[in-house]
Assembly symmetry: C2
Homo-oligomer: 258 residues x 2
């Protein structure tokens, strides 16, 4: 099994994944980031070396893990000599093929989770989706993934793109709605705290029920009085008012057609 | 303390709240609902009487709890003789004053949670918001609420309306986005299961962090490549594509102004 990795990127995902690899006995040889602050911070955490220069990226590692913003790929990767070592990216929405000009051994390692720097996550339950350009590389990546997670699956680029879209709805957009809810409360000096049990229960319900069956609230009941009152009250927060209207219509339409 | 209650309404909230009251030693004398099926089902669960006729609602109970769809209030309440007994509604968006024509003792009892019929909830952690038309009635309702929850607070109608709006965003809209995420996955034959750890972690993060600080994903990073790819892929699901666009813009705008 491959044991010496270089991380290209030092953001939230790189931080958590490299630390988890290290915990499981893999050796993180080096961290590269265009940002000196990020590179240094992650290298300190891992007690390893870092660089901000692509020319200094160490050759001969067993795996290069690319965890960059998607639009940085084109700028960074052509500058690096991977010498046909295993080159792996961690992006939901980039196809495997985007790596083919840079190495003859390529793969994707996509953990489906939200990572924030100062929050620990338990990798054992995180689904990790693998893709590779050969059965040998697939086998290698599965073996690596199984060291950190009990939920490893092979999936193609097209499906992974849809996984990512689903994750944007179920996580990024959801978190934005938590934010908006907090802003509504803040406008009346009510602490965010009061929503926490509701947020937990809403997430808890769909661990056991179909989300469509778990739907509650004025839109699915088509409770026009309540909706009108909420839209009236939201007049001082026009951006949120517009979202309220559009999403209520989407809920009503979806459940009418079920 | 008041001990004999009548429930007017037999929906999700009435079902859970009446059962919880019964568990804590209150006596549910009767259930009224316009739907015979709902009335009978809840009465059977509570081992009590039910009626579908407002004329048969029992007089002399210590409290009448109204848990109806908001637009049913005007149809049902004028028909009932409450004889100035304690009349309480459980709606987020109706003011206390909507009860003043029907009794001289009125209040609001608003548990901030999502209730689905076949799912148990732990009331002890649910915030219950109280309002009443006199200090005596307020005291009574606080005493009742404290039997079932450790988080009882007094709040006025205006603030409660905003609590309800916040709950629509943080629960009803969130659940709709779980549903949409499931539909996106279904279109590629991927099971909803893979999203469950992500959903739990997204809710878990905001138990400890400010939601704005927990925001991740392409919109807050302004990762245009990813957003464009997602919009292209969502062309076959145009309603969801439109939501994706609008909410990404909302995220970007909100975080740009922070």
């Amino acid at each position: 099994m491959s044991h010496r990795f270089v991380f290209i990127g030092a953001g939230n995902l790189a931080t958590h994944l490299s630390a988890e690899f290290q915990k499981k006995g893999f050796f993180i040889e080096q961290v590269y980031s265009r940002s000196k602050k990020s590179a240094a911070m992650l290298a300190r955490k891992l007690d390893t070396k870092y660089t901000t220069s692509v020319a200094e990226i160490l050759p001969g590692a067993d795996g290069y893990f690319v965890a960059l913003k998607d639009d940085a790929f084109e700028k960074v990767l052509p500058e690096i000599k991977f010498q046909n070592k295993l080159l792996v990216h961690c992006s939901g929405s980039l196809p495997l093929s985007c790596l083919k000009d840079f190495s003859s051994n390529t793969g994707v390692f996509y953990p489906l989770q939200t990572f924030s720097k100062n929050r620990q996550v338990d990798f054992s339950n995180i689904p990790v989706f693998i893709e590779a350009n050969s059965p040998e590389n697939e086998k290698k990546l599965i073996e690596i993934a199984e060291q950190i997670s009990g939920r490893v699956a092979v999936i193609d680029s097209q499906k992974r793109l849809n996984l990512h879209i689903a994750a944007v709805f179920a996580c990024n957009f959801v978190n934005h709605f938590y934010t908006i809810a907090g802003e509504v409360l803040k406008s009346k000096e009510i602490p965010f705290n009061v929503l926490k049990p509701l947020i937990q229960e809403t997430a808890g319900k769909v661990q056991e029920m179909e989300p469509a069956s778990a739907q509650t609230g004025p839109a699915v009941r088509f409770d026009e009085n309540v909706i009108a009152k909420h839209l009236e009250e939201l007049k001082t927060l026009p951006g949120f008012r517009e979202l309220y209207k559009i999403i209520s219509e989407s809920i009503f339409k979806f459940h009418q057609n079920r």
